[in-house]
């Protein structure tokens, strides 16, 4: 379980389960989120990452177990109260109509506004400051639809900043982004200094940017710990059903993982030792991953 147990929990999840047609989507999941932590939820497709995120946001009915936010059950909060505390950056959104960047960021004011209140100069200032923090103030009047994937994600993060939430939830924030934008988004998220819970497909990015990782498989929590303890060859080989090789990034010192296609044996390696030979194709794949041309997610 978590290494920093002495800190007070902002979010506490106890035995959370969710079933659909007798299939366990989530099964008895328990963990805590402490203030200021950056937590990554990782696991293979269908492991329950996005479902867990939806449950934390109280968007999912028919769940069992308890979720507490500031020691109060999340079901006791109104939707508006939750929106004041939790902000969400969803996967790529493509609006039908030509919304401007200002329109999208302005949406973050919603939980703080009464029914008949119009936008004030202060509100506009808030939007401008948030866009400045994500480095997009020059695009305030641009159409959201025509921005790149990375810029759209940053606009949605600016919206979350306007929302003034205490916890930021991100669902696959680096999906569809190239390597440059992946790092740019996650560095931005890290620099916000708020509590972050995000689902991440790329294990190396998760290991580098998250303080804690929750590894899910088939709806169950396999491991909850710091990246060094979660991203082990044993855990990842078992969960992803591929031979996992683990070492350390020579520059960032973060855990680094790569996979080969056939599951033979788990092997922890370090930089001083050569990776175990696991076939001709696998060596090429490993080389590719280490050079940053491929990520583990697109290999699997």
């Amino acid at each position: 379980m978590s290494s920093s147990a002495n800190q007070s929990s902002l979010i506490k999840v106890e035995n959370l389960s969710w079933q659909v047609n007798d299939k366990n989507i989530l099964e008895k999941i328990s963990f805590n989120v402490k203030k200021g932590e950056v937590i990554g939820i990782i696991g293979p497709n269908g492991a329950g990452k996005t479902s867990l995120l939806r449950c934390l946001l109280n968007h999912q009915n028919n769940t069992t177990g308890n979720i507490y936010f500031k020691n109060k059950s999340i079901t006791q909060y109104s939707a508006k109260q939750i929106a004041k505390s939790f902000a969400v950056v969803a996967q790529k959104s493509t609006p039908i109509f030509a919304l401007s960047v200002f329109d999208v960021v302005r949406m973050g004011l919603l939980p703080h506004k009464g029914m008949f209140t119009l936008d004030s100069d202060y509100d506009r200032h808030q939007v401008e400051i948030s866009l400045e923090r994500v480095g997009l103030s020059s695009l305030i009047n641009e159409q959201f639809n025509v921005l790149s994937g990375g810029e759209q994600q940053r606009v949605l993060i600016a919206r979350a900043l306007v929302q003034k939430a205490e916890v930021l939830f991100l669902d696959e924030p680096t999906n569809h982004l190239d390597v440059y934008y992946q790092h740019q988004i996650l560095q931005l998220v890290q620099s916000l200094n708020i509590t972050v819970v995000m689902t991440v497909h790329d294990l190396n990015l998760a290991g580098h940017y998250c303080q804690r990782l929750l590894l899910l498989n088939n709806g169950s929590l396999v491991c909850d710990n710091n990246p060094d303890q979660v991203l082990t060859s044993q855990h990842l080989t078992d969960v992803f059903n591929l031979t996992c090789h683990r070492d350390q990034d020579p520059i960032t010192k973060s855990p680094r993982v790569s996979f080969s296609l056939n599951k033979h044996s788990a092997a922890d390696t370090n930089l001083n030792k050569s990776a175990p030979a696991s076939g001709h194709i696998n060596q090429h794949l490993l080389q590719d991953v280490h050079q940053g041309n491929r990520t583990p997610s697109n290999i699997s």
Partner: protein, 327 residues
Amino acid sequence: MRKSSLIYLILALLTLISAALALTFGPAKISSQQIIECIFGICSTPVNEMIIWQVRIPRVLVGLVAGMGLAIAGAILQNTTRNPLADPYVFGIVSGAALGATIATITLGNQLTVALPLAAFLGALFSVFIVVAISTALKNPEQLLLAGVAVSFMLTAISQFILYLGEPFATNRVLFWLMGSLARVEMSNFYVISGVLFISLLVVTAYHRQIDALLLGDESAKSLGVNVNKLRLLMLAICAAITATVVAYCGGIGFVGLMIPHIVRQFIGVTTLPLIIGSSFVGASFLVWVDVGARSAIESAEVPLGIITSAIGSIFFIAIMLRAKTK
């Protein structure tokens, strides 16, 4: 002054000018000077007084609020369903009104002054009730539209079957009513439509931020604290009330709710408040001028409004498709 305020001011002035100019059109030759005297002073003849106060002013005022209402209903439906093709017609509201009018005409004969609009209103509400009942089971905006289309066809089939069995005179009456006209409107109609519009606009203004949140998707809106299903049903009910009231007095006037928000979105904005304000003015001016065209196109006869709006609307959409293809 902000750019948007300036645009609204210009649109309001254009609407006012449209209404004033529309008063000068009609079979009776009345000069602008006489019209101004009639409105702000004493009419030169009792006939002019009757034409101005009992025919032209009610007609122009009802034209203004009817155009406003249909355009607002279209704008709300398009934003809440995130579908640029949403329109009160697509949701079966007009088919329901037609069914109500058909039943009233066939069963009541000539006692229709109050019964026809009332039956049309009840028919429109009935169609919305069915669409809402289906949509509560579906919970998907795309399917909500499909439910509306299905209900529309179903109610049209029932109307046509009743008309097929009914006498030809009643059939003619319903068919003419369905084509839309402002020829029989009264000042009381203006008050009723204005009242419904006023309440609707209050509700829409109260929820404008929530409707905006829907533009980025249901999940996004939920994360901002919006109860998506309740909001969508409330807005559908608002649109039904506006459209049913307009259709009850003016008959079927198509394409206004589809076309006007589409134009306004290009020049003013896509979020709810600018779209609603812009659509109100443009819709009002548009219908007033369409009515002028309907009165003036053929001497000693009137072209039904629905024919003109549908003709303009279809050309408009072909133009949009061609423009989109060349882009």
